[in-house]
C-alpha cells in the first residue's frame, strides 16, 4: 500500500489558483471511487491537499481533476509526496510548521475536521486513520514541548494578548477608540472578538465615528467628550493624525490619581504618536506604540523560529516510529495472507 499526498499551498500557488481547487467538498469520496483505497482532502485558506492510500499509483493530474470541476486545468502548481515524505509532510502541516504564519494552530483543527468528514463518508480507512491519529499526536507534542505556538505575531493580536495579561477577563473592560484609522479598527475588532462589550469610538468626523462604532459593535462618542470618557475607561486606542501629542503626562496625572488601583492600557497606533512616550513611566500606565507592538510580535516570531529545529526533531521521531509501526503492520498482514495456517496456529496458541 502506498501513501501519497498531492496538493498545492501558498508555497506553490497564488490564491486564485487555490480557489479553483478548493470548491469540491466531496472530493475524497470521488477519489475513492476513482481507485484510491482511502482518500482525504484537507482544505484550508492556504492549502488544498489530498492524502491517499492506494495499491496502484494514482497520477497527480487525476487527483487534480477530482479536486476541480473544470475540465482543462493546469496542474503544474501541484506537489507530490510519497510514503515517508508524505508522513513527514502531514506531520509538519498539522504542527503548523508549513503554515504561512509558523506555529499557527488553526490548521490542526482543520485537519481534524477533514479527517472526521472523510471518516463520515467512509473514504478514510485504517491507513489514514493511523496516519492522522499519529499526526495529531505529533502536533500536540510539538505544541506542548516547544514554544512554536507561543505569543501573538500580528499587531492586533499582540494588543489583545497584552490586554489579557493586564486585565484578565476582558469582558469587563471599557475601551475607548480615539480616531478611526484602519489599524484602530483592526485592534478594536480583535478586542471585541475576545469579549470586550463596552467599546466607545470618538472621531473628529462624527459620521466616521458612527460607521466605525457600527462596524465593531460599539457606541459613538462626540469628539469633545473623549477627555471626559478617558477617565472611565481601561483601554485607550489612539489613532489620529494629530501633529502634536493629544495626551501628555500632565493630562494623565489627575486621571491616574482617581484610578490609582486600576491599570490603564494605552495603545497608540497614530503616526506621529498621539501620546507622549513619558506616559509609560507613570505608575499603572502601560503604553505601547506601533513600534513596540511590532517589536513584541517580532520577539514572538523569533521565538517561534528558534523552536523550529526542536519541532522538526519531534516530527522526525514520530515519522520514524510511524514507519516502523506501519512496516510491522504490513509484514503481519502479508504473513497472514500468505500463510493463513500460521494465523490459525497463532490464534490457537
Amino acid at each position: 500500500m502506498n501513501l501519497f499526498c498531492v496538493g498545492l499551498s501558498h508555497h506553490t500557488a497564488n490564491v486564485e489558483t487555490r480557489e479553483i481547487f478548493s470548491a469540491n467538498r466531496e472530493a475524497d469520496c470521488v477519489l475513492r471511487d476513482a481507485g484510491c483505497a482511502e482518500a482525504l482532502v484537507l482544505t484550508t485558506c492556504n492549502r488544498v491537499e489530498v492524502y491517499g492510500a492506494s495499491q496502484n499509483p494514482v497520477a497527480t493530474p487525476d487527483v487534480a481533476r477530482c479536486l476541480s470541476r473544470k475540465i482543462d486545468i493546469d496542474h503544474s502548481a501541484f506537489y507530490r509526496h510519497e510514503n515517508a515524505d508524505c508522513v513527514q509532510h502531514l506531520f509538519r502541516v498539522a504542527s503548523g510548521l508549513d503554515s504561512m504564519v509558523v506555529g499557527e494552530t488553526e490548521v490542526l483543527g482543520q485537519a481534524k475536521k477533514a479527517y472526521e468528514s472523510a471518516r463520515a463518508c467512509g473514504s478514510a480507512g485504517p491507513f489514514l486513520h493511523r496516519l492522522f491519529q499519529r499526526a495529531f499526536r505529533a502536533a500536540k507534542e510539538v505544541r506542548s514541548q516547544t514554544e512554536i505556538t507561543r505569543g501573538a505575531v500580528s499587531v492586533g493580536s499582540v494588543a489583545v494578548d497584552l490586554a489579557a495579561k493586564i486585565f484578565g477577563d476582558l469582558s469587563r473592560c471599557k475601551v475607548l477608540v480615539v480616531g478611526a484609522g484602519e489599524n484602530a479598527e483592526r485592534t478594536a475588532r480583535a478586542l471585541s472578538s475576545r469579549g470586550v462589550v463596552d467599546l466607545r469610538v470618538s472621531n473628529r468626523s462624527p459620521e466616521r465615528a458612527r460607521d466605525l462604532a457600527a462596524n465593531v459593535g460599539g457606541t459613538a462618542v462626540p469628539f469633545e467628550d473623549w477627555p471626559e470618557q478617558f477617565r472611565k475607561i481601561d483601554i485607550l486606542i489612539t489613532s489620529t493624525s494629530a501633529e502634536a501629542p493629544l495626551l501628555t503626562p500632565a493630562q494623565f496625572e489627575s486621571t491616574l490619581r482617581e484610578r490609582i488601583d486600576r491599570p490603564l492600557f494605552v495603545i497608540d497606533i497614530g503616526v506621529p504618536r498621539n501620546v507622549d512616550p513619558r506616559v509609560n513611566e507613570m505608575n499603572g500606565v502601560y503604553l505601547y506604540d506601533i513600534d513596540s507592538l511590532q517589536s513584541v510580535a517580532e520577539q514572538a516570531r523569533a521565538t517561534r523560529l528558534q523552536h523550529i529545529a526542536a519541532a522538526e526533531k519531534i516530527i522526525a521521531e514520530h515519522v520514524a516510529s510511524f514507519e516502523e509501526t506501519l512496516a510491522r503492520g504490513l509484514e503481519w498482514r502479508a504473513r497472514n495472507i500468505a500463510h493463513p495456517q500460521m494465523r490459525i496456529a497463532e490464534q490457537g496458541s
Partner: protein, 261 residues
C-alpha cells in the same frame, strides 16, 4: 529520624524547583500538577516531622529558632496548597518551593537546633498564639511571592521585553486580587495570634510585644494604603516583599528574645 524526614521533605521541594528551572530554561514549561504534588509530598513529610517533634516535647514544636523556621516553611506550604489552586496561580508553586527550600536548608545547616534551656510548662494559649501567628506568616510569605510575581510581570509590560515567563504568569489584576486576599488572610490570623498573646499565663518579654505589634502595624498600614488608594498596586507588591523581609527579621528578634527569656 525527624531530621531525616526533614531532609526528605527538602528534596521534594527541591525537585519542584529543579523541574521548574529546567523547564523554563528549555522553554518547555507547562502547567502541570508535578509542582503541586512535589510540594504536597514535602508538606506531608514536614507534618510528620512536626508531629514527632511535638510528641517528643509534649507541646507545639516552636521552642527554638530551628523549629520556628520549619513551622514557617510548613505554613507557607499549607497556605500555598489552600490558595494556590483556588487562585489558579500556576507559577506560584514554582516561586513557593524555592522559599521553602531556602528556609529548610538554612534551618538544617545553621546550628540553631538548640533545646530551650528554660522549660516552661505547656500553655494552650501560648501554643495557639505562636502557631496561629506562624500560619499568618505563611500567608504574608505567599503575599510576598505574589508581589514578586506582580513586579516581574509589571516590569516586562513596562519595558516591552516579553520573555517566556510572561505567558506563564497570571494577569496583573488576578495577582493584585490574590495579594489583597492574602494580606487580609494573614492580617486576620495575625490579629488573632496577637490577641491570644494577652491570655498567655506568664508575662511576655517587652521586646517580643513591641516586635509583634510592629509587624501588625506594618501590615495594617499596607492594607490601609491599599483601600485608601495611597499606593498604586506596584507599590503594594513591593511593600509585600519589604513587609515580609521586615517581619522575618522581627520574627528572629521575637524568637531570640523568647529563647533568652
Amino acid at each position: 529520624m525527624d531530621r531525616q524526614l526533614l531532609i526528605l521533605s527538602t528534596f521534594c521541594y527541591l525537585a519542584a524547583v529543579v523541574r521548574t528551572i529546567v523547564a523554563l530554561r528549555a522553554h518547555t514549561f507547562q502547567q502541570s500538577r508535578f509542582n503541586f504534588f512535589a510540594i504536597a509530598a514535602g508538606f506531608i513529610l514536614q507534618s510528620a516531622f512536626l508531629y514527632l517533634r511535638g510528641h517528643a516535647e509534649h507541646r507545639c514544636p516552636l521552642t527554638n529558632l530551628f523549629e520556628v523556621f520549619i513551622f514557617l516553611a510548613w505554613s507557607v506550604a499549607l497556605i500555598y496548597m489552600l490558595v494556590g489552586p483556588a487562585y489558579r496561580l500556576s507559577l506560584m508553586g514554582a516561586f513557593t518551593a524555592p522559599l521553602v527550600v531556602i528556609l529548610q536548608v538554612f534551618a538544617l545547616l545553621a546550628p540553631i537546633d538548640v533545646p530551650h534551656a528554660a522549660k516552661m510548662p505547656a500553655d494552650p494559649w501560648l501554643e495557639f498564639h505562636a502557631s496561629i501567628s506562624m500560619i499568618a506568616y505563611g500567608a504574608f510569605a505567599l503575599a510576598c511571592i505574589a508581589g514578586a510575581m506582580y513586579l516581574v510581570q509589571d516590569r516586562q509590560l513596562k519595558t516591552h521585553q516579553i520573555r517566556s515567563i510572561f505567558y506563564h504568569l497570571p494577569p496583573l489584576s488576578d495577582l493584585f486580587a490574590a495579594i489583597t486576599r492574602l494580606l487580609w488572610l494573614g492580617f486576620i490570623l495575625y490579629t488573632l495570634g496577637l490577641a491570644s498573646g494577652f491570655f498567655v499565663g506568664g508575662p511576655l518579654p517587652r521586646l517580643q510585644i513591641i516586635c509583634a505589634v510592629g509587624v501588625w502595624i506594618l501590615y495594617g498600614a499596607i492594607l490601609q494604603g491599599r483601600y485608601s488608594r495611597w499606593f498604586a498596586p506596584r507599590r503594594i507588591a513591593a511593600l509585600c516583599i519589604f513587609g515580609f523581609a521586615a517581619a522575618l527579621t522581627l520574627l528572629w528578634g521575637i524568637t531570640f528574645s523568647a529563647q533568652i527569656h
